[in-house]
Symmetry: D2
Subunit: 134 residues, 4 copies
């Protein structure tokens, strides 16, 4: 599992001088996009297969503030998979300190209807199950 | 308890034509700011008292998509209060349909140190407790 | 010509405590959307007619800083119209002070091809010409 | 002069499926921050010297659309310098195609007062003049 790095931009910091909390939700998306790409199920593949993947829920615990120029290292890990849904966990660090922990849940739609993952993407299910168990 | 309205802007919608999920975190902040103002503990009061209020955690369940021009009605309600922390819940509707439910937890800092709410803002504690019980 | 109001949100302010300069470009879009609506050429009408209107250029002069809670009053005025393009000017005020002046140029596309405004929307051309001359 | 790369994020694209025009203003900031760093006048240096550098104006011509995953290569070049102000130009490319051209003007403040660049940062002036003439 590789690490995704987001270096905090000036425009992502707020009046308190720290990264605005809403931006971590975007950093999770960036890291997830990179992770899906790495797994062979990136955006091009999804588009080719006519599949979109809405976010069903998101949660985030802010442990430490970060600021402009900080390099946030994000590790994404699949933590749950069911017939229709996948959940990922995110651990974000600056140096050794954990700055944020997050979680998202996703479904997959084709022509507006839920996709049974085992049928469409059996390899994806297998890979994620290994990641969850490993 | 009044209702805060956010009308979705063009630049808040994504490639799928719907409000990007990260923006709901910002809508919660907008509604919370308005609610705190209404309670008499708005930004000017906080600044005057030298208090800042970081977000400790956030969660959000996306029930239905919204899009450009939609008027999202947001009701904020205090749901938990302890010595140092307050939690709010958010219900967002377009017309009668609930589109999103969220929750945030906050602490309060003065000179970088946690504020005991009962000592600094006893009236705030009383008002929120009534809201929670009511 | 009515005035569009954008109240600055917390998340729109930066480390210097002022509205980040990129956000004014978004405020212009908000004001333009409202103005087009008012003129009878709002988003629904455009979508119905199969027309999209990309921004070709934008410019912005920052006169004074604004900050959280400021109510920015924006007046949009058409200033130039040609066969294929329209330009708008924006004056933004907080109270009596001009805080920002901007300008945008737009074309109009149908099925990816430039729309000759006089043919598709003659009334729109007439209204804008009156505004420019008036 | 090195090239700054911004890969377009999902959340930066709009309903038309393309990078929202306001985001290019942010990409310019990212590239300028990197360029100032490279010149030895990065954010840490500015903070150390107690100098802030507000944007006075910005302009942007959109030549071609870009979209999710596109790698935008940005070259920043100083194009004008006076006693108190500096202007930069930005050329953004995807592959060989120019997608956007921009320009920004900046002043420099210390304790809220304009900084005479020649006095505070003579080397900075020299380097930029060489870049402009070169």
């Amino acid at each position: 599992m590789s690490t995704y790095i987001h270096q905090v931009n000036y425009y992502e910091c707020d009046r308190m001088g720290v990264t605005h909390h809403s931006n971590y939700i975007r950093f999770m998306e960036e890291a997830r996009v990179a992770r899906m790409e790495e797994l062979g199920y990136g955006y091009a593949k999804m588009e080719e297969d006519g599949i979109v993947s809405p976010v069903m829920s998101v949660s985030c615990e802010y442990k430490k503030t970060t600021t402009f120029m900080d390099k946030i290292e994000i590790v994404v890990k699949a933590v749950e998979i069911s017939a229709l849904k996948v959940s990922f966990e995110y651990v974000m660090r600056v140096g050794k300190a954990v700055v944020c922990k997050g979680r998202t849940m996703h479904c997959f739609l084709k022509d507006g209807k839920p996709v049974v993952l085992e049928e469409h993407w059996p390899d994806f299910v297998r890979i994620l199950k290994e990641e969850i168990d490993g």
